[in-house]
C-alpha cells in the first residue's frame, strides 16, 4: 500500500460546481442509508433515475492513492460510462483504472459498490466492470467486484473499510445531484 502506482495521473478539468449546496436532496444521505428497512421501501420515493444521477453519486469519490483528486478528475468515471435501466432495475458502471496494472483498482471498484449500495433504492441490481482493455487482470477484477459474498466480507474488514470511507467521504458530504444554476 506504500507504493505509488501512478505518480503522474492525467487530470480532467471538470465543469461541475464544487462546494455549492443544493436544497436537501433525496440522494444525499451522508451516512448509511435507511434503505432496506426504511426510506427506500416507499415506492413513491425516488422513481426513475438516469445515468447523470448515478454519475453524480460517484464523481466526487476520491482516489485512494491521490487523495485530493476525484474519480471524475482522474477520468476513472464519467457519465457515459454509467447506464441505467428503470424497466429491469439494473445499473451498470464501467470505470477506467488510472493505469493498466493499477493495484488500487479493487479499492476503487469497492468504493463505487459501497456508494451505490448506500445511495440507490434497493430495487437496483448493480454491476461494476472495468473498461474493456483497460486493465491487465480485467476478468479477475470484474469477477471479484461482482461477487456479493466477497464484497460483503471485504466490508467487514475494518482496515479496508477505513480506506473506503476516506475515499467516500467527499462524495457523501457533497450534494448527490449537482445543480448548475
Amino acid at each position: 500500500m506504500n507504493e505509488i502506482y501512478n505518480p503522474n495521473p492525467k487530470i480532467l478539468k471538470t465543469a461541475g460546481k464544487r462546494g455549492a449546496r443544493a436544497p436537501s436532496d433525496l440522494w444525499d444521505l451522508g451516512e448509511e442509508r435507511t434503505g432496506r428497512f426504511g426510506l427506500y421501501d416507499d415506492p413513491s420515493v425516488a422513481d426513475s433515475i438516469d445515468q447523470n444521477e448515478v454519475f453524480d453519486l460517484v464523481r466526487f469519490i476520491t482516489d485512494p492513492e491521490h487523495k485530493h483528486m476525484t474519480l471524475e478528475e482522474l477520468m476513472v468515471v464519467s457519465a457515459p460510462q454509467c447506464s441505467v435501466s428503470n424497466e429491469t432495475n439494473r445499473v451498470q458502471i464501467e470505470f477506467t483504472p488510472t493505469v493498466p496494472h493499477c493495484g488500487m483498482s479493487t479499492v476503487i471498484g469497492l468504493t463505487l459498490r459501497v456508494r451505490l449500495l448506500r445511495a440507490l433504492p434497493d430495487r437496483f441490481k448493480v454491476d461494476i466492470r472495468v473498461k474493456p482493455g483497460s486493465h491487465q487482470s480485467e476478468n479477475e477484477l470484474n469477477k471479484q467486484l461482482n461477487d456479493k459474498e466477497r464484497v460483503a466480507a471485504a466490508l467487514e474488514n475494518s482496515a479496508l473499510l477505513t480506506v473506503l470511507e476516506e475515499c467516500l467521504e467527499p462524495a457523501q458530504n457533497r450534494v448527490g445531484r449537482c445543480t448548475n444554476q
Binding site: 432496506r36 428497512f37 432495475n89 434497493d122 430495487r123 441490481k125 469477477k143 461477487d147 456479493k148 459474498e149 466477497r150 460483503a152 466480507a153 467487514e156
Partner: protein, 355 residues
C-alpha cells in the same frame, strides 16, 4: 402442467422476518420440527413449527397449514457474519460457519426435562479467512467446512463436543463456496469460485483424495446438492445455469443436463428434495434475480435424465436477492420449501396443485 392438466403452483404459507441484515442461509432440523436461519447480523434464529389440528378454528381457510413461531434468537458471539449452518443428523447439534473464519458448534445445555439454552460448546479454528460452508456427513461422524482460503477441512466428530481435524484439502484454486455430503456414503462434494466442483473420498491408504473434478460451469459455482438417491448432483452457478451431473461410475461424474434461460442473474443456492412427483424428485434454485424455480426431474426411457420446469415464484423476497432454499425433511412435508434473502426474512412455501 401435470399429466391431468392441473397446474402446480408455489404459494407462500409463512413469512418470518426478524433478522436485522441479510439472511444468508436456512437449515431444517432433520429430526425435530425446527428451522434455523443465519445472518449478517451475526445471529441464528430458530423457529418451531407444527401442523394445527383440523378442529383449530383459528387456522386459515385452507387449514392444516404449518404454523411457525420464533423459538430462540441466538447471539452467536461470532465476530462477523454467520454465513452458513448445518444440523447434525441426530438433530442435537448445530454447526455455524462465519466470516470470522471459525466454525461454531451449538447444543442445548440444560436439565433433562427442560429445553435448555443454545450454547456454543466448541469453536473450530483453522481457516485463515472467511468460512463459507459447513455440512455434516450422513452418519454424523464427520463435519466438513470450507473457506475463501481455498481449503476444505474435514473434522471427525468425537464425544463431548470434541473435534479432530482429519484433513485439509487444498486443491481448489480459489475460494470454496460450499460443501455437501452424499446422502449415504462418505463422499464429499465442494464447489468453488474456480468454476469447478470437486468430489473427495477418504482413501484408507492416502488420506482424503480428490477423485473427480466436474468442469462445465463458466463462472463461480455457488451451491451443490445431491439427489436423494445419491446418483446425481445439482449445481447452481454465477453463470446463471443449473447443471445436473450424473454418477457414471464410482468416481466418475458427467454433466447430464444444463438448465439455462430460467434465471438471468447469479444462482446462489440449489436444493434437491424428494418432491411429490417425478421419479427423481424436485430441484429448487434461488437467484439474485429474485426467483425461486422448481424443476421436476425424471429418468427417461433411455435411462437418461430430464429436468423440466415445474413452477416458479418471481420476486420471492420482493426486490431482494434470494440467498438460500431448502426442502423440509419432515414426513409428508416434501412439498414444503424454505427460503431466505437479502431482506432479512425467511419464507415458507408450499408447492402443490393450484386451486
Amino acid at each position: 402442467m401435470t399429466t391431468d392438466g392441473s397446474s402446480i403452483e408455489i404459494t407462500l404459507i409463512a413469512e418470518l422476518p426478524g433478522h436485522q441484515d441479510r439472511a444468508w442461509a436456512i437449515a431444517w432440523n432433520p429430526t425435530k420440527p425446527l428451522l434455523a436461519s443465519c445472518s449478517a447480523d451475526k445471529t441464528v434464529r430458530l423457529y418451531s413449527y407444527h401442523t394445527p389440528p383440523p378442529s383449530d378454528v383459528d387456522s386459515p381457510s385452507h387449514g392444516g397449514e404449518l404454523k411457525f413461531e420464533l423459538n430462540a434468537s441466538i447471539t452467536t458471539g461470532h465476530a462477523k457474519t454467520v454465513r452458513a449452518l448445518a444440523w447434525s443428523p441426530s438433530g442435537n447439534t448445530l454447526a455455524t460457519g462465519s466470516f470470522d473464519s471459525n466454525v461454531g458448534i451449538w447444543q442445548q445445555v440444560g436439565e433433562e426435562d427442560e429445553e435448555g439454552a443454545w450454547e456454543c460448546v466448541s469453536s473450530l479454528e483453522g481457516h485463515e479467512t472467511e468460512c463459507k460452508g459447513v455440512a455434516y456427513s450422513a452418519s454424523g461422524t464427520l463435519l466438513a467446512s470450507c473457506s475463501r482460503d481455498k481449503s476444505v477441512w474435514v473434522w471427525e466428530v468425537l464425544p463431548d463436543a470434541d473435534f479432530e481435524c482429519m484433513g485439509v484439502l487444498m486443491e481448489h484454486s480459489q475460494d470454496v463456496k460450499s460443501v455437501a455430503w452424499h446422502p449415504r456414503e462418505e463422499v464429499l462434494a465442494s464447489c468453488s469460485y474456480d468454476d469447478t466442483i470437486r468430489i473427495w473420498i477418504d482413501d484408507p491408504q492416502d488420506d482424503w483424495d480428490c477423485v473427480a473434478i466436474l468442469r462445465g460451469h463458466t463462472s463461480t459455482v455457488w451451491s451443490i446438492s445431491f439427489s436423494p438417491d445419491g446418483n446425481y448432483i445439482a449445481s447452481g452457478s454465477d453463470d446463471k445455469t443449473v447443471r445436473i451431473w450424473k454418477r457414471m461410475d464410482q468416481h466418475k461424474w458427467e454433466c447430464a443436463q444444463v438448465l439455462e434461460g430460467y434465471h438471468d442473474r447469479t444462482i446462489f443456492s440449489v436444493a434437491w428434495g424428494e418432491g411429490t412427483t417425478g421419479s427423481l424428485g424436485w430441484v429448487a434454485s434461488a437467484s439474485s434475480d429474485g426467483q425461486i424455480i422448481v424443476y421436476q426431474v425424471n429418468v427417461t426411457e433411455e435411462g437418461g435424465i430430464e429436468a423440466r420446469l415445474l413452477t416458479k415464484m418471481t420476486s420471492a423476497h420482493g426486490v431482494y436477492d434470494v440467498n438460500c432454499v431448502a426442502w423440509c425433511p419432515g414426513n409428508r412435508l416434501e412439498n414444503c420449501l424454505a427460503s431466505c434473502g437479502d431482506d432479512g426474512s425467511v419464507k415458507i412455501w408450499k408447492v402443490q396443485v393450484g386451486k
